[in-house]
């Protein structure tokens, strides 16, 4: 080693020791040392955090972390737990945990046998090697401080953990330092980075042969979760890293471009598309019965849906590499990767070229950062480009029609994988047709106040999306799910049925007959009730409070309810309430009351807009929904004139 190098290393060591000492000086964990502003609305405080990540070879890296959290009260006890996930290619070691009381006095070190090793993917996967080290400190004299230190050795560099300034809500931050070190002599061992917050001060130094990235933050108040907002990792500062090149279980890849990353996926999937001869024959027979490629895709999709079921197994490289198609064929199960690869193989046997596609799935998933090629995905679907259009296939569901992408995967950038030609493409939005919920209700009100209801509901767009799971549920769960959407407190369900229709648009039509006892209330010879039967749906009050994040409404929706009440014999309506209406940039609302002989008709129409609205609009937002809530509660009084 050169002398200058040695000198620099000593310098770095001195700097870090100094830093340690400084931190050591500051590392008085007494609660009285915490600045009072950091205690406001906080259940925990991150006193000190230091993480250093170092890439040491193409596949390996080491992360060393020390941090201390003060748990202020029982509601913040989760913040004092230590949970460090790992899997086949990573190892967590050198774990120490120390408990300090409110005065900063050391109480004890947690014994090695109290460090638990648990499986973390028990309910979603049949088998998964996702595990975690877990420590739950046995100390309850709040406030107290936990100091943890540990090291992670990674034998796969596919993913590099991002730096998240706020690990949780209701936690204030006293001081955090993040370091990333990469050797300059091998550009493949470098990293790309992306920050979701341009005000973050990421310091980058080149100190003799190494690039050192450093982020320091301090004295940050806690964030709280807000409704209609982004995920915590989207609306708080995060630095994402991606390795320039990486290696996992002997497979190499690069994040230089989406094409490079896509080629890595191609390598993983290569040679896994072979089907048994019998299946190939079936596929060819199906393919030959249709002229139209769309019909072939549709038929083969249905064939796949009937043949297999979804079972998740995430073992080692199997977390990224699909099972071989012949294995899926034999066992008739697989996870999203295996089933997508299987479907691709079926289509290949029919001479249709389909592309394995990676998705960041989830109803409220964060966006894929387009100019940051890296592993941002958690799901696989199939892209089938045909003459004139593209058919997208979700291969893990036994029921949905071919080409249907629901809120899980719609309207987002996905990576369509193809050798030397992978690219980001946008999936179509599910609300091409309007997201509409239309309900037509006939009810009979008895003189006892009971309400006998026959309801027909038409669920389109996102409302179809919320309900298609019914087709795979047991009858008990179907009943539970449908009734939950009605928000009644007490009901006697008589019967229900539902069906899927494609005309005029894809929808699920539901028929429910039920009785709500004591829906109307007596008062002398009067009977009164709320015509909007489902008023509990809007009874939730939004908080009138200071808001920090913009309001995000992802989809435009339309709700129409036509409710006809057949009045009990001898009862008439008095003066009916006038039309209720209100409108704002968030939507429009009208409710109308009409009478005709012995019928009362109530029609409600609400349309809510889609958009990202600034924080300053929040009081208008709350005001709009406050009005709707009030109008939905409007009552109608019936008088008994037969006496």
């Amino acid at each position: 080693m050169k002398k200058t190098t040695q000198l620099f290393i000593v310098l770095i060591l001195l700097i870090s020791i100094h830093h340690e000492l400084q931190a050591g000086k500051k590392r008085n964990y007494s609660v009285s040392e915490i600045s009072p502003q950091l205690l406001i609305k906080a259940n925990s405080v991150m006193r000190y955090y230091k993480e250093t990540v170092e890439r040491t070879s193409l596949k390996s890296s080491i992360t060393k972390t020390v941090y201390a959290v003060t748990v202020l009260n029982a509601a913040g006890k989760d913040a004092g737990y230590f949970i460090q996930p790992y899997f086949k290619y990573s190892h967590v070691g050198n774990i120490t945990a120390t408990i300090f009381d409110k005065n900063g006095k050391k109480i004890k070190k947690v014994a090695g046998e109290d460090i638990m090793d648990i499986a973390t993917d028990l309910t979603t996967s049949l088998y998964s090697d996702s595990r975690a080290k877990l420590i739950i400190p046995e100390y309850y004299d709040y406030p107290f401080t936990m100091e943890y230190s540990f090291a992670i050795t990674n034998k796969s560099s596919l993913n590099i953990d991002s730096w998240q300034v706020y690990p949780r809500t209701n936690m204030s931050i006293e001081s955090e330092d993040f370091f990333m070190i990469t050797p300059d002599d091998n550009p493949e061992l470098g990293v790309y980075y992306y920050m979701n917050d341009s005000t973050l001060n990421l310091d980058i130094q080149h100190i003799d042969g190494e690039t050192i990235y450093h982020l320091h933050v301090e004295n940050l108040p806690p964030v709280r979760s807000e409704e209609f907002s982004e995920n915590l990792s989207d609306c708080t500062p995060v630095v994402h890293f991606a390795p320039v090149s990486f290696s996992i279980a002997g497979f190499k890849g690069s994040n230089k471009s989406w094409i490079d990353y896509g080629n890595f996926i191609c390598d993983l999937n290569e040679g896994r598309a072979i089907l048994p001869e019998q299946t190939v024959n079936i596929v060819k027979a199906i393919a030959e019965s249709f002229n139209d490629e769309h019909k072939v895709v549709d038929s083969l999709y249905k064939y796949m849906q009937a043949k297999v079921r979804y079972v998740s197994v995430q073992k080692g490289l199997g977390g990224w590499q699909p099972f071989e198609a012949k294995m899926v064929d034999e066992y008739s199960y697989g996870d999203c990767k295996a089933l997508t690869n299987y479907m691709k193989s079926l289509l290949l046997a029919a001479n249709i070229d389909a592309k394995y596609t990676l998705v960041k799935a989830g109803q409220n998933a964060s966006k894929v950062v387009a100019d940051f090629p890296s592993n941002q995905f958690n799901h696989a679907i199939l892209c089938v480009p045909l003459n004139g259009d593209t058919v997208w296939l979700e291969c893990t569901n036994q029921h949905i029609p071919s080409g249907y992408l629901g809120s899980f995967t719609d309207d987002r950038n996905v990576l369509v994988v193809e050798k030397d030609n992978s690219k980001l493409v946008r999936t179509p939005a599910l609300d091409k047709s309007v997201n509409a919920r239309i309900r037509i209700v006939e009810t009979t009100l008895t003189s006892d106040g009971d309400c006998i209801i026959n309801l027909k509901a038409y669920n389109r767009g996102v409302f179809y999306d919320r309900n298609y799971h019914l087709f795979s549920e047991t009858r008990t769960n179907q009943k539970k799910s449908l009734l939950e959407q009605l928000y009644f407190s007490t009901i006697n369900l008589k019967d229900f049925s539902f069906s899927e229709k494609f005309d005029p648009v894809l929808q699920i039509n539901v028929n429910i007959s039920l009785a709500v006892p004591h829906y109307a209330t007596h008062s002398g010879n009067r009977l009164f009730f709320t015509p909007y039967l489902f008023s509990k749906e809007t009874s939730y009050k939004l908080k009138h409070q200071e808001r920090k994040t913009p309001i995000i409404i992802r989809r435009k929706k339309s709700f129409t309810d036509t409710i006809v009440f057949h009045l009990p014999k001898g009862y008439v309506t008095g003066k009916l309430p006038p039309v209720k209406e209100c409108s704002s940039k968030f939507g429009t609302y009208t409710a109308v009351f009409m009478k005709e002989k012995n019928k009362l008709t109530y029609i409600r129409h609400l349309v809510t807009s889609k958009g990202v609205f600034p924080v300053s609009d929040y009081s208008e937002f709350v005001g709009f929904y406050d009005k709707i809530r009030k109008y939905d509660q409007t009552k109608v009084v019936l008088m008994n004139v037969s006496q």
Binding site: A74, G76, Y139, Y333, G524, F528, V637
Partner: protein, 622 residues
């Protein structure tokens, strides 16, 4: 000679290794099973267990499970995945049978679909996922492992046509069995139990807690105790249980240890406290210097209670046994009472003890002529309140001097008193004003717990303001939160919407802002008793000022209902004096357990409460 010959022939023909004939033969489902598309027992079932067989082989402690399942619908596919708590080794085999064009197609379970997983320390799961499962498939699974079965479930969340358990005798272990539940089964002989045509289990509200049945991968792990469970245990008489406990390091030995240490503690207390009650409170305070680590245990982890105490934390046994020891040194008459916590099911009157299920111990102490059950794990419980997890039927005195059953309750109830002072705002049609709550005994405990869960006033208010529909809380103060021997008071300023509306020059006002809206008892019939934690009493007074010009038009008639045998009482009385409306409300639910036969009365009692509470006072506006 004949027997030998028969045995010999059996072995040669490879017939069953079982001493008694098993109800099913592995790998040989009937054609009828394969072709059937629904079963009478429940035509909506997504799957049916045709046979669930367990055989404990006494000579080598092997437990053999044979299961045959029929998949009837796609939603039943999850019943093709099974999870067994087996220890690190198990022999598994399985077959999926499908009828294809009249032929039986068989797919064997491959070793690739069998996973052994260490969940945490010594706790292993063997999981299987059967191949090629379709609607109509019949699945056979056989699992063999070293095990002494501690419980067997006749009932599942899908119907079971045949459930059978055979426990062979062995010299080394004697079983005593206790049965819980409402499903009939036959004791064919002392080693064999059979239940046929067991309907699927349905959960009802207000049941004693049952662990979540619907997560299949967990139903082999958790100990579900209420219906359909046969509990097998290794113990015989309660007297023997007491003897065993007495000898254990973590129990009897612990209660004889650390004399010097607790003597020292007792001396300090005797210097400050004079009466029994003062001494008891001081003893609890001293023990509560220790923090409970959240774990429910019957036994301390060592016999040295003083070292536990010095460490600062302990499990529930370490805390309560220390309390008992200290109370002994303070010359109280005190005994340990052992029990099962509520989440594990009740310890009913059992002739044969269930030693392995006991998981908690309390102090049973005489204070001024009355015995109290005392727990020192929760700093929020005064000595006369037991935490919810202990309110579980009966406990057993575990002492060498005396024995017997003890009701797990100190006779304390939940009391909530509310006083509203409100004004009707005619413009907004809201009720505005102030409310004062007073919470006593269990009501105070619940309120203190609510605050502790929230952590601070802001989060507490977030939760509290969602509790009643239409409430907008402007200001809220909690008083006496810290002194657990005092009731908790809460004062709030609020505005309530949706309590009154105008129609046709009449104003309808619902004077009771926190009335019960939902009848918790919706079902027609009830299979299981209704189990509340404790009796409750609510008293409310509302004074509502209405604007001048409001003339009373219709006032609800008073009502006074009573349940038989002092089971409960309900009263509402409304008066209008000038522009003041005064409402008095009282509700008492006096028992914590109502039997199935009382269900209809209870259901209609609640319905009348709801109906009557929703009757408005109607005013004519001049």
């Amino acid at each position: 000679m004949k027997k030998l010959l028969l045995a010999g022939i059996s072995i040669m023909l490879g017939i069953s290794v079982f001493a008694q004939k098993a109800p099913m033969k592995y790998g040989k489902p009937s054609k009828e099973d394969l072709s059937k598309t629904s079963y009478e027992i429940d035509t909506t079932a997504p799957a049916v267990i045709l046979c669930n067989y367990g055989y404990f082989r006494g000579r080598d402690f092997t437990f053999i499970r044979l299961i045959r399942i029929k998949i009837l619908k796609k939603e039943g596919y999850s019943w093709a995945n099974w999870s067994f708590h087996t220890g690190s080794k198990a022999n598994v085999r399985g077959k999926t049978f499908n009828l294809e064009n009249g032929e039986i197609k068989v797919d064997k379970l491959s070793s690739k679909s069998i996973y052994r997983e260490k969940v945490i320390s010594n706790y292993y799961l063997t999981k299987v996922s059967m191949p090629n499962v379709k609607v109509g498939s019949v699945i056979d699974i056989e699992v063999m492992y070293n095990w002494i079965p501690l419980s067997w479930y006749f009932q599942q969340t899908i119907p079971v046509l045949h459930s059978e358990l055979v426990l062979e005798r062995t010299d080394y272990v004697s079983f005593s069995k206790n049965y819980f539940g409402y499903v009939g089964f036959d004791v064919v002989n002392p080693t064999r139990w059979v239940a046929k045509n067991v309907p699927a289990f349905q959960k009802e509200p207000f049941m004693l807690p049952v662990n979540n049945y619907l997560a299949h991968f967990e139903n082999e792990i958790s100990s579900i105790h209420f219906p359909g469970e046969l509990v097998i245990n290794i113990a015989d008489k309660w007297e023997n249980v007491n003897h065993t406990l007495d000898k254990l390091n973590g129990f009897g030995m612990a209660l004889r240890s650390s004399g010097g240490f607790f003597n020292g503690q007792a001396k300090k207390i005797n210097e400050q406290a004079n009466t029994d009650e003062e001494k008891l409170k001081a003893a609890i305070d001293a023990i509560e210097e220790m923090d409970w680590n959240g774990s429910n245990r019957l036994l301390a982890s060592s016999s040295s209670l003083s070292s536990c105490y010095s460490s600062g934390t302990g499990n529930s046994a370490e805390v309560n046994l220390s309390l008992i020891r200290l109370l002994q040194k303070l010359k109280f008459k005190v005994y340990p009472v052992v029990l099962k916590t509520r989440d594990k099911g009740q310890l009913l009157y059992l002739k044969r003890p269930t030693f392995s299920k006991l998981n908690y111990v309390l102090a049973y102490v005489k204070v001024d002529d009355k015995f109290y059950l005392v727990d020192a794990t929760d700093k929020l419980t005064p000595y006369y309140l037991l935490p919810d997890r202990c309110l579980n039927g009966l406990g057993r005195i575990a002492s060498m001097d005396t024995t017997g059953w003890v009701s797990l309750s100190n006779g304390k109830h939940y009391f909530k008193q509310t006083f509203y002072q409100l004004t009707l705002e005619p413009e907004e049609m809201t009720l505005k004003g102030a409310v004062t709550f007073q919470y006593k005994d269990y009501a105070a405990y619940e309120k203190r717990k609510e605050y502790r869960e929230a952590g601070n006033m802001e989060l507490y208010l977030d939760n509290f303001s969602q509790k009643y529909e239409g409430w907008n809380i402007i200001k809220d103060t909690l008083i006496n939160l810290k002194d657990i021997y005092k009731p908790v008071k809460e004062k709030a300023e609020l505005e309530i919407e949706n309590q009154c509306f105008e129609s046709d020059s009449l104003v309808y006002v619902n004077v009771l802002p926190d009335r019960l809206l939902i009848n918790p008892f919706k079902q027609e019939k009830r299979k299981y008793p209704v189990a509340f934690l404790y009796p409750k009493e609510f008293k409310t007074t509302v004074i509502l000022n209405v604007p001048d010009g409001y003339q009373p038009y219709s006032i609800p008639k008073p009502i006074h209902l009573k349940l038989p045998d002092g089971g409960g009482e309900f009263l509402i009385l409304v008066k209008v004096l000038g522009t003041k409306v005064v409402l008095n409300y009282k509700l008492k639910v006096n028992k914590n357990m109502y039997l199935q036969k009382e269900y209809q009365l209870l259901k209609s009692f609640y319905q009348q409460i709801i109906d009557k509470s929703s009757e408005p006072v109607v005013f004519k506006v001049l």
